[in-house]
Every structure is written in C-alpha cells, then in structure tokens.
Subunit: 251 residues, 6 copies
C-alpha cells in the first residue's frame, strides 16, 4: 500500500477554482466527448487545459497539420489552452508505465482539481481506453512521493477523475454518471462551434449530430435542454445534500 | 407514459431549503441507516420529518410503547419531527398500490425536496425493501395529476430520492453511492446519541458499533472521520463541476 | 418442472407470418415504446393486435374517453387492431396470478408468434413493469396444459417475448437488445403520426421528440436513419449466421 | 433493525448433523433441482425433509394423486421424509406475508441447519421464484422473537440458505455458486432413480437427461464425474482455508 | 473519433455470402469452440477461413508438426481453408498494436462478413483473451483509412464480430449470446470428426465430450438437438422481427 | 485448449497440509491484505511462504532497506518464510508473459495448495492488479506440460487461487467472497503486530486502523469478532454441505 501526500484541497480549501485538465487521444476527442462541460466551466471562470496525445495521423480524413490547427481553434472557442504530446501516435498507443509517469508529470506540473479522460470501455477506438487507463494510473502516481522520475515536481492529489464517453458505446455500464446541464445558449453555441471547428471530421461523418443528439436525449431526461454525462472514477464525497443537485426523472 | 407537473424546483429555485422527508419501516431504521445525514442537515438549518410505518411489534426486544418513545426521543436529538402511520405492522408489510398512494399523500402534504427510504435490496428484513418500493412508487404517483385519491393536494415533484442501507447487506450493488461527510463533532455526537436512544435495541445487539464501524470505514476511504453512503434513485444533475465534491480515494 | 406443448412453430414451420401481440399499460405506451416496429411489420404483411390495460384515468392530461379514441386512431395508423381490457385501472395495477391467467387466455385466443410487453425495470411508471411481469408469466402459463381457467383454448407456445422500454430509464441493463431499423420513410411517418395521434399527451410534454431522439441516436449507431431497441426475454435461436444481421458499430 | 436469537450452532457446535430442509413448489422440483445433493448427504448420515407446496394440479401431464405418489417414492429413494402443504396450488402461488410466516413455522418446528429453496430468478416457472422468496423471508422471520403467529416454537436461526436452479435459466447470475460432487456411483444412481420415479414427467419430456447433462458439464469443469451447483444466499463463513475445497479449473 | 469507410454491406447488399473468418490461438481452438457453426455455414455454401496463431508448442501433448497436421485435416473436414501465422508462440502471446495491425491486414485481404474470435474473459488460457482483444481491435483498425501499415489493401468494415467460448469458463457474463442450431446430422457428424481429428488432444482429455455436452445442454434449452452459443461484440441490427428466430424456452 | 497434468490433490489426497503461497507487490501488501488468514493457518500447522515483488522504492515513506527489514520481521510474526524477487520495481510493474512464467516457476518449485494474490480490480495501486493477473496466469502456466522455460520442474496444479483486496476499493464486485474468521485472540494479535511491524507505513497513515475496521465490519456481519474476505478465482468444489460453513447473516 502506498501513501499519498496531503490533498491540496485540504490545504487550500475548496478546489472549485483549480484548473480542469482534459486528456484526449486524438485532436477532436475532448470536444466531441465533453466540450460542453468545458465551455460551461470556462465561462464560469475556471481554467481548462487540454493535453492531446496524437495528431490524428491514422484518420481516414484530414492531415495531421490540419488536425492540429483545428484542435487549436476549437480549444480557443472553448476557452481552453492546449498542448500536444508525443506517445506512439494515432491508432498505435500502447499502455506502459513510462507513459503513465509522463502523464503524471503533467498532472504535477498543472496541479488540476478535476481531470477528464476517455472512458475505459474497451469496445471503442483502442487508443481511447488505453489513454483512459494511463490517465487513471497517472493520477495515482502523481500522489506517490517516491517515484524517481517525478521528483522534479511536488506530489499532487487531484480532486476527482471523471471519464467521458466519446461515443455511446464508450459509456461505462458499471458507473452511475452525473449529468452536467449544458443548456445555456452561449455554452451550447460554444460547444457546437468547437465541434464544427474540426471541419475535416465534421465533413466526413455526422459526428456533431451524434453528440448533440446524445446531449439532447440526456437533457430531455434531466428536464433541461442538453446535458452531458460524466462518469466519476471514485465515489463522490459531498459536504451536504444541498449540493446533490436534483434527480433526472422527467418522464 | 404519464406526464408530471412542473418541478417545484423550477418554480422556486434551489431546493436546498426544502424539507427532508425520511421513511422508516421500524422505529429505529432511519437513525441507524442515515441518522448522521439528518443531524448534519438539520444543523445546517434544513427541516426534517420522519414517517415511521410500524411500532416494532415483532421485535425480539422492546415493547411497542417503548419503541415509540425511543423513536420520539431520537428524532428530537436529530432535530426532526416524527409521525407514525399504520400499514400492516412490523414483519407483516405488504406492497400494494393503496399504500403507495397513502405515502404519496404524505409527500404531497409535506412537499419535500429530498426523500430518504430504505434500499430495495431483498436480502434484508423484508419490511425494508417493501417500504423502499412503496416510497419509490409514491414519489412518482405524487407527480401524476389524475390520481383520484390524491386530489386533495396539488401534485408535487421531489428533487431526489436517496436510498439508505440499514445494514451492510442492504447496500445496492448497482448504484454508485454518494458519501456524506458526518465527521463534525456535534453531528457525530448527535447521531450517536440518537442511536443510543433506541435503548431496547442497543442493549440487545451491537447495532451502534455496526453503524459507527461502517461510517468510519467510509470515512477512512473518503479522507474524513466518518461518512454515510446514500444511493440516488435517479441520475444526479449538477449545475457545475464545482458542486461535484471530491473523489473518495484516500488509499 | 412444468412441460409445455409442442411449439406451434415446430408444427407449422417459420412463425414469420404469425400475429404480433403487443400489451400496453396505458393507451399510448405501445406507440411510444415500439410503434415504429409495429408499423414496419404490418407494412410487411404481418398482423398486429394491441391489448391496452387501462384508459389512462390517472393521467395529468386527457380524459379516458379521449384517450381511448386516440389509441384507436393511433392503432389504425399503425395497421393494428386494438382491444381494451379492465384490470385495476391506471396507476393502480397489481401483480396477481388471476391477471396473468387472464392475459394467458388472450395469448391462447390470439396465438401470436411474437409478444411485446413493457420492460421489467422498476424505476419507471409502476404499471409498466407490473404489466411486463404479468405478460411474461402469461406467456408461460399459456403453455401449461393443466391450468383449469385456460382449458377453453388449446395450449400455445409463443416464438419470443420482447420487452420494449417506454422511456430511457426503462431499458434493461442486463439484456443485450436487438435493434430494428425503422428508417423507411413510410414507416417513420406512420410511427410519428401514431404518436401524434395521442394529442392529449403530445400537447402536454415533448414525448414525440423524446422517442424520435432515442430512435435517431440508435440509428446513428446502427448506421441507418432511426432504430428501435427490443430486449429479448429468451436467448435468440438462429438457424444460420446469415440471419444474424449486422453489428451496430458505426462510430 | 431486528435482532435474532443466538445461533443454534453457537450453542451446539458444528451444525453438520442438523437436518436439511428442502422446499419445492411442485412434486418433482427438489429431485430435479438438487436430488443428488440430498442423496449424498443422507448417505452420509444427515436427515433430510422435503416440504412440497402443491400437487402439480396445473401440469400438462400426471394427475395430482399420481404426482403425490411419485414424490413419496422419490423422497424415499433419496432417504428423505416428505410433507405436502397447501398454499394457492400449482401455477397459482402468490407471495404474501402469511405464507412466509407459515413456512417460518415449519422452520421453527424442524430446526434445520441448511435450507434449500428454488432460486429467485424470475424467468422460470412463476411458482419457483415466488417460493424462493417466501423461503428466504421465512428463514429470517424464524429468527425474530416477536412474531406473534410463531410464538408456539422457539426462534431458530439456520446455518445457511442455498438456492438451487431447477432449470438452467434459473441459475442466478449474481451469486457465485459452490459445486457439490455427486459422482459417487450410489449417489448418482439414487438421484437418477429418484428423478425417474417422477414417471409422469419423465415420460413427457427429457427432464432426466437435462439434469444429468447439466451435472455432467459441471463435473467436467470440476474434475469429477457429476456435480450440482448450489447458490448461497449469504456469504460463506469458513473456519479455515482447509475447508475451502478445491477450485473448479479442469480446462 | 475515427471515421470508417462505407460498409461493404451497404455497397454490395446482404453479406450472407461473404467469407467467415475465424481466428484461433492454438491449432484446435476454433474446432472446439465453434466447429459446429463452421460446418453448418460451409454446408450452406459459405466460405470459411481459419487463421491459427501458434502451433501448440507449449501443449502437454502433441508436437507442433502433429498439431499442424491435425488442424489441416480438421479444417478440411469442416470445409474451411486454413493458414498459420507466427506471433509469439503458444502460451507466450502478448497484446500489442503491431499484432492487431497484422491481423487487420488479414481482414483487409480476406474481406470477411463475419469474424469469429475467442472471448475476452480473462480466466482461461491467457492466449485466448489476448487473441480476442487483438482481433477486436483489428476489426476496427481495418476500417480506418489512415493506418500506414495497412495501405496496401482498401479499408474494410466487417458485418459482425462474434466471440466464442472455448471452455465454459470463457463465456462472457455480460453479453447475451445467440444460439446456432447445429443439430442436423451431417453438421453434428462433421463437427465431431473435426474435433476428433485433433487426436493428440482428444486422447489426453475428454475435450470432445466437454463440447458435445455443452452443445447438448444448449440444444435441450433451445428445443433442438445441439446448439452453440456465439457472443456478438456489437448490437445486432435486424431488418425485421421475422429474422429474430425463436426464443430458447423449452423448460 | 491446453490440458493440465493430474492434480496433485488427486494423487496425494486432501491438500489441507500443502503450503500456502502468497504474492505481494510491495513489502506490506500481504500483511495488510490477508495477514490474519496467514496467522490463522500457520497456527494450525500449515506452512506459508511470501513472494514480494518490489522493495517499495517508490513509496512516499520508508527506504527500501527498511521496507525489506520490516517485511522480514512481519513475515516472521506471521510464521511465514519470505523471498524477494526483482521484476520492474515499485510503481513500475508491467504485465508480460516472461514474468508470468517466472512466477509459474516459483509455483512449480513451491508446489502450493492455495495461492493468494492481490485482486484484479484496476482502480487501486497499478502494481496490485498487474501482479494479480501475472499470478493468475502463472497458476495456469504451471499446469502446462510443454512450456519450455519451466521444464526444470514438474508441472503442478494448485488447489485454489484466492484474491485478496489490499484496500476496500480493490474488492472485486463480481466474485462472491468467502469470509475467514480471524477472531481468535492470538491470531488477531499476530496479525496486528505484523501490520505494525511495517512501522514506516503505519507511522505515515492509519493503515492498521483501516484493516482492523474492515475486518471488524465483516466480523459483525459474520457473527464473530473479525473476519477477512477472500475472493476465489474458480468455483469452490465441496465434498459435502458439512464443509460449507455457515452464512454471514447476523443482522
């Protein structure tokens, strides 16, 4: 058993203002998977940073340079900063400890409150669950004081890791999600624009419609316009029932 | 498909001040199952009301009059009001529509935000899951405008139904719970006193230790002193990630 | 263990031409839950018959007479015949053997191949899973030679029982569904009209949008326009992989 | 929460010699579901008693008098005593508290160590899971000191409740079973004879082959001739790993 | 998110005549796991091709040359062609992207409709779930236009991936299988001969009996002689309920 | 499909006296996860051997030399022998076939009856589930006669593999555990001392309290003082119901 350092949250109080750190395997994954949540949080004054782990080199549509440009434009529309890192490349990602440690280094550098990663469901693009597993392990390694490769930065404990499902198949059947209301017109507009900014992909297939249909269906259930599901990796600890929101039971 | 009336919450804003309505099959179920949550919420200024559906007539220990007195004392310690209703009696509860409607009437009368009920897991005292099912259906029937027996009160949509597990076996394996931190000394003290107020039961078996051990184990996981798990019946809809609390990942 | 009579299918070959028998708890449940499937099958020459078990007396919107008229119009648009039966009434349905036997009598009288019923998931309108359980048991009792109340008709074994989910919450998490493509323009049009024929409900809430959004999301996954999920009660027995259709893996 | 009396086992040491009490909904259920286990235990000197809750009146084959005679013969071949009780009759069983109390009375009278009942899986003959639920609740009510209808007998806590699956569909997917080796020639022979003694049923369908095929398949997995799966209602508490048997991992 | 090319099925209509491509980790896995399905489909005029990924070098019985000869003979009896590929060797298979791409190349070359692979359940021979995962990812990579190593062949989208369970432990608990009736005498005979052709294995342990017992048990449930379960990776999309077969509900 | 050699148990009778072999990823995992079970078994005369796969180099607290010394002292207190092996080091463990074969070699050398390993649940310290998977595969490879690297030792089939959960999050939700009573005062004392012997860890966080709280909670459920849960990898095969222990149903 490995101990972790004291939670930052315990030291600094509520983590509500801490940066959101989102990881994507491909240039468009974050936007398609949870762009509306990012738009909402940045509009509420929270910082968001994207780490993208390939340039979409294996895609049927769009060249890497174009994909990178689209991702930068899209992140901007969502109010997020973005960086690209090199792992094995699109459709070639492997799970190995060295990569988890590399991502843990980014976590220690950025010191986020909430981390977002693709879900672990295996029956989707293979890069997605592999990145999800790397991020999950990275969040843990970032806490361990004795990992040599990470000594450059102080240990860091995040507040929560949420998975998002880039496609419907990727929704984890064994985690009860929370729904985030993304119905505010400016939020929905920013999210839609961010998805459309991935023009090479949006032109090839109806990805934008897929995501808006998913969000509308959740919104109908939640009694709002559109909503996005996030799947917590760890049990939610609430200070009060007053923060438990309402239940999605419109029908 | 049955429509429901507009959520009260939509009309009146945040339901954080609405009454908490808790149902128990026996005089001590609410206290043992989630008394710490009640203590915390009433100390934060929220009203709580208990509806107890038997007087413990089939118990191995304690006579009905004593059980009722213990429950009243205990509710007082938790800052809650209490009422007793008559269904089939202890160890004899049946599920039938008439009872669900009766409970729906109480819901319409009390107009709670959050409702608490015993979990639906069947391998526990048979009265518990039966009451849980009655309450779940009652929450729904309270919304339907056309139920004749309920016309006396306007329809009411609750914010959320949470199940609590009176014993460890009763924890639903298919719902991810939320944890409520009940570590504040006055909260923990009030909860403990409320459990001990059920003296006929506490003398017969180590119920109080059982509940405090459960809460301590969850507290250790959550990085706080003690915590209680509540199991939401419907997906949580959050306005922002800032309300998502932190994850329970202390080890 | 109870034996059943020889399957009709074994006697008469392929059951593809046998009647589809659909049960609904309320006047609009069949249309909202699986109307597109009915439209498709009747257009392919198969007979469909609806059995509706209440007149929507407890609904917030629409009087019983209007609800019945809407259901008749709607069934007509789908090419189905319809009958109303009296059980306990809307929002009052109980599960009891006498009702299962009553439904088994209808099954023996109609001798369907495929039977459709609301799913057994409990967290929906309480009448839905109760009717689902009654139909499931009825399909079984219809097979048993010695049930006295049923001696009027010869025993009958159906081909398959499929559950449908009237709302998203009602989708059974433990059964892998099959998707039926309902994208053909005349099918989609008939289904939409049939839903809109329930004018008292469609005016009150966005039920039609809910169902079309669900079907569009499934269609996007399946690589077609719209699709409806049906949840088989028993394992599918296929004569050949050539009948296994294709997999839903569009993204 | 309801306390239970001190376990008999704690008072009298190992319950290995206590009676096995098996409940069946129909005259042949116990034999087809777990007859091999009964044969093995009675041959090892343990007493077994059967409680049969109908006379098979709704069966396609065999008259009640014949069914009763077959059951008596069969129980004798397994070394068990048998009694018939009257509930609602074959294919008509309802779940109600009065029946659970009636069965609890039998449990208090017989004071068994292990109780056997049909599994709770709903997609089988409806009488089976209903009886299973009644027995489960009865085992609990037998422990509660204050149930008036049961005051005639002292409270009794059983050692364990195991479910058996009369048909493959009835195997509970959420309980890890234990396998009991029934390969000894005299055990297998007694079981087979007991099943064949239900001549009215064995003649109508290949029930005997079904059960022997199931047991052979489990035996192949367990590395023995034939084995029967039992599904414990509560976690097994073992005094030592030396009693944990071996794992079924032959292939 | 990665787009895929247009389904071949959409271009060429029904894929019923497309080749079946089956992958096995060891020379006998395909025959023992789903040989009866292959026999049935080839007898109906469909082509089948086997890809075997080791020569059984780590087996307790049989030398590689003998194992290869047995596999060739067996494939012939089933009407299938066969090729051997070299990965890490028996009991040494690792999961890596390069292997998934290698298998994707075979899929692009063979352009199958249906693909068969060992299931992903981990508690079986470790090579089996690893090959299953490689094949699953390969089916996906074969669709992606931009994977450099695959540019030699046009992208290809299969119809469906089915998993088969070589042993009972390997049956995935979370996928509802479909059953394929393999009772026709010539089919059952061909399958049995194909299994017996693996003489080195059949002599060492009762593998043939294991598989025939499994198939007989499923056949009893399905109301036919013998049946084999296949576990679809993706939801089945059916054109009509007329193709949904019948349900397995014989008992 | 791979055959295995004859079980040792079949050759030598009851494996109750065979060595227990426990694997830990870090110097304290075995003690914290299942030390009480070890203490109980060694006190009953069974041999126990620990294989520890790192020296805790990445820990926040304690240097490797100290960790090793603590582990040796702790094993001694539990009556077990201990060896350290070198894989990738703490927080760096990878899953690969070479390691599984290395562990299989240890299994062949030690010829244990029962093997203990950390559970496969992924959301814990990443080394834990990886070691669990390596051990699971090693138990299988140890049976296969043809694995070249293992020819030095005769093949060996273990009796059972049990997983233990080092932290509450690590408890596998899909396996029903067995509970081992560790309440005997000398057993509980030895376990507590063994945990406290890991002074570098015990000083940093309340690990000892965590484990004793978990064991007490299980003990309360089981009707004894303290109990530890073990999760069997394969179905338990029991010779008789007399060995099935009692059920945990104290509340």
């Amino acid at each position: 058993m490995k101990p972790g350092p004291k939670s930052q949250r315990e030291k600094h109080g509520r983590g509500a203002r801490a940066t959101i750190l989102a990881f994507g395997a491909h240039p468009d994954d974050i936007e398609f998977g949870c762009g509306g949540v990012i738009a909402k949080e940045t509009r509420a004054g929270r910082a968001a940073h994207f780490v993208i782990c390939s340039r979409g080199e294996a895609s049927s549509h769009g060249k890497p340079a174009q994909r990178v440009a689209e991702a930068k434009k899209s992140a901007g529309l969502l109010g997020a900063t973005v960086e690209f890192i090199k792992l094995d490349g699109d459709a070639h990602l492997e799970v190995c400890v060295a990569y988890a440690i590399k991502l843990a280094g980014i976590i220690r550098r950025m010191r986020p409150g909430i981390v977002l990663a693709p879900s672990l469901v295996e029956n989707q693009h293979p890069d997605h669950p592999r990145l999800g597993r790397l991020v999950r392990d990275a969040c843990r390694l970032a806490r361990y004081g004795g990992v040599k490769e990470l000594r450059r930065w102080p240990a860091h404990a995040i507040e929560q890791l949420f998975y998002c499902a880039v496609t419907p198949e990727a929704e984890p059947p064994d985690i009860t999600p929370v729904l985030i209301d993304v119905s505010a017109p400016d939020v929905l507009r920013a999210w839609t624009s961010a998805m459309e900014a991935h023009a090479s992909q949006a032109a090839a297939r109806n990805y934008v419609e897929l995501q808006l249909t998913r969000a509308r269906l959740r919104g109908l259930r939640a009694g709002c316009g559109h909503a996005i599901a996030l799947f917590p990796n760890d049990l939610l600890v609430l200070d009060s029932l007053a923060h438990a929101g309402r239940g999605a039971r419109q029908f």
